[in-house]
């Protein structure tokens, strides 16, 4: 447990911002998740948006309907009422997310921006592998695909998932962001920055290290694929993503299915408590992978 005292702050006259911790941890993320879900259930009038993030959260409100100080009072009360994360149950999806690592498209993009990188003589994969103590980029790819990630926050642009690996702190991969952000990142690029993996939903700027490309979309404005019927974004906070390294052949097969409208993510439902993950991530990871591929 962290002993950080949460910081409550006004974000102008329409937002309250609450920092649960300065450092990223599953504990901080689950506590923020628990508070924001309790807040949602309370259906307090005047609240416009509840935005959980990695180790913090934010609430947007109409101050004429609820005074910010009254809202802070409510939030502090909810925070106090959550003594333990033991009885906080998360119902989530486990999702198989096929990734083509070291692909030609992100390779071409990252080569265009070597002058903005910490190590212009390596690729992003080679650099990240080296500074994280892996022998090769294959070992880094292996470590990413071995254990699942928690979707700890959704945002930046519609549907971008921040994904935090469910492994003990000492096994966490951490990489810096580009020295100066790129002006171009291909759609569906799979990147890593700080302690987070992410998939860029649409083409745009970006500062994460580029490791590969996701075969299927996570944002679809036309909403033609079955996974997007209810929402134009796929990831939800609390989802568990397993990034599976695939071959070019499988990548092309998935692309064909996406284009003819038949692609559907392999997903399974799971119910778990944060303590299960925090206390024994290895066992939890095995459960997740077993459930996803064998149940």
């Amino acid at each position: 447990m962290s002993h950080f005292e949460p910081r409550y702050s006004y974000g102008g006259d329409e937002f309250i911002f609450v920092e649960m911790d300065e450092a990223m941890s599953l504990d901080a993320n689950f506590r923020a998740m628990s508070i924001t879900r309790t807040l949602k259930e309370k259906e307090i009038p005047g609240i416009m948006d509840i935005c959980p993030s990695n180790a913090s959260y934010m609430v947007r409100f109409i101050p004429e309907e609820i005074h910010p100080d009254k809202l802070i009072g409510e939030l502090k009360q909810i925070e106090k009422s959550i003594q333990s994360l033991n009885d906080f149950e998360i119902h989530a999806r486990i999702v198989d997310v096929p990734i083509l690592f070291d692909d030609p498209w992100t390779h071409e993009a990252l080569m265009r921006f070597r002058d903005r990188h910490q190590d212009p003589n390596s690729t992003d994969l080679e650099y990240a592998a080296r500074i994280n103590g892996f022998k090769s980029k294959q070992d880094l790819i292996q470590a990413i695909s071995d254990s699942p990630f928690l979707v700890s926050m959704v945002g930046f642009v519609p549907g971008l998932p921040w994904c935090y690996q469910m492994v003990p702190r000492e096994q966490q991969i951490e990489v810096p962001k580009y020295v100066r952000p790129r002006t171009y990142t291909p759609e569906r690029a799979f990147g890593f920055g700080g302690a987070f993996a992410a998939i860029y939903p649409v083409q745009g700027a970006g500062g994460y290290q580029l490791f590969g490309v996701a075969a299927a979309p996570i944002y679809q404005k036309e909403q033609t694929l079955p996974d997007f019927r209810d929402s134009l974004v796929f990831p939800k906070q609390g989802d568990i993503f397993r990034f599976r390294s695939i071959s070019m052949d499988e990548f092309e097969a998935v692309r064909t299915k996406v284009e003819n409208g038949t692609f559907k993510y392999l997903t399974k439902e799971i119910t778990f408590t944060p303590d299960e993950v925090i206390e024994n991530p290895r066992k939890f990871s095995e459960t997740v992978l077993g459930r996803l591929y064998h149940d």
Partner: protein, 325 residues
């Protein structure tokens, strides 16, 4: 129907915005200067969320294909119908075949064009606002182009007689230097005390990077309190563990140039935010141009709420006045 003959620099369809989807990373979009937007709708008797055109810096050239009333509010980009000047902040009748064009911008940066009934484009997640970055909302998810044809919606409440004018004391004026009120906070603990003082005491110059996503300012380099970066934050002292960005929040990547995030901004990221522009002054931010000067003024929450009440009272006053005509 309205034919777009020339699109101007950037003309988009906007209403009050896409509210309630921050959680999925969807920014609100919507009219940048909501005060001027509200006044324009009042002048043509529209429902308050009817969509209008937001015109930036250089106006479009439009041809009306119907008899209707229009109103233009916001920054001073002098409008003309068939080459003859027409007033802003006033209900104006136009006839089918009339052409609306604009002179060069004098003050402010954005004009709102409301048409009786509002602009009719598909409603996406509760809003007609354009969000160009992801290509949704508005007219085909983008700014207007020549030969686009806009339909008029039926969000009309009551006819307003041409010549109806917003009372002079409710018409804002836009200067070349601006005081923008902010509430300090969020991650402002990351700035050194000296840098906090600098942030609030110098004139910041608006760079050419100033649009619906955000405004970037040039001034002095600011410093962050040294620390060993917490896990997951990233190595630059301006980095924090990725968090949500309130609308109007100000971040200072690497301490170099502050950026205030606006209607089409990213909803979160890994830079320390240090202050938030109060909701009332977001309207004024929308009217600031490149190279103009901005001074950030720290206010309390109560002062921000008072400013909000004042703005609402002004809009109510205009509504009563117009309704009484």
């Amino acid at each position: 129907m309205i034919n777009v003959l020339k699109p101007g620099i950037q003309t988009t369809v906007q209403d009050n915005g896409r509210i309630g989807f921050y959680e999925i990373g969807m920014p609100p979009s919507g009219a940048m200067d909501k005060y001027s937007f509200a006044m324009a709708n009042l002048l043509v008797g529209n429902e308050e969320n009817a969509a209008a055109l937001e015109i930036t810096y250089m106006g479009p050239e439009l041809e009306f294909r119907t008899d209707t009333t229009i109103a233009l509010t916001g920054g001073e980009i002098p409008p003309k119908v068939n080459g003859e000047p027409i007033p802003m902040w006033e209900t104006v009748a136009v006839k089918s075949g009339d052409r609306l064009s604009f002179d060069f911008v004098k003050t402010g940066a954005r004009v709102y064009l409301a048409v009786a009934g509002g602009i009719d484009v598909p409603v996406i997640l509760g809003s007609r606002s354009t969000y160009t970055l992801c290509g949704i909302g508005g007219y085909q998810g983008r700014a207007l182009q020549a030969n686009d044809v806009l339909e008029i919606a039926n969000m009309h409440k009551r006819p307003i007689p041409p010549g109806t004018r917003i009372p002079a004391e409710l018409i804002p004026t836009f200067a070349k230097s601006h005081e923008i009120r902010v509430i300090m906070g969020l991650c402002s603990y990351r700035l050194t005390e000296e840098s906090k003082r600098t942030f609030l005491s110098i004139d910041w110059t608006v760079t050419p990077e100033a649009n619906r996503v955000g405004y970037r300012f040039k001034g002095e380099r600011l410093s962050f309190v040294p620390r060993e970066q917490p896990f997951g934050a990233g190595s630059n002292p301006s980095n924090v563990v990725d968090l949500g960005y309130p609308i109007g929040s100000i971040q200072i990547p690497d301490g170099i140039e502050p950026i205030s995030l606006l209607n089409d901004a990213v909803t979160g990221g890994g830079y320390a935010t240090v202050a938030t522009v109060i909701s009332t002054d977001l309207n004024r931010m929308a009217q600031i141009k490149t190279n103009e000067k901005v001074r950030f003024v720290s206010v309390t929450l109560e002062e921000a709420l008072q400013a909000r009440r004042q703005t609402k009272a002004d809009i109510a006053k205009a509504r009563d006045f117009i309704g009484g005509n």
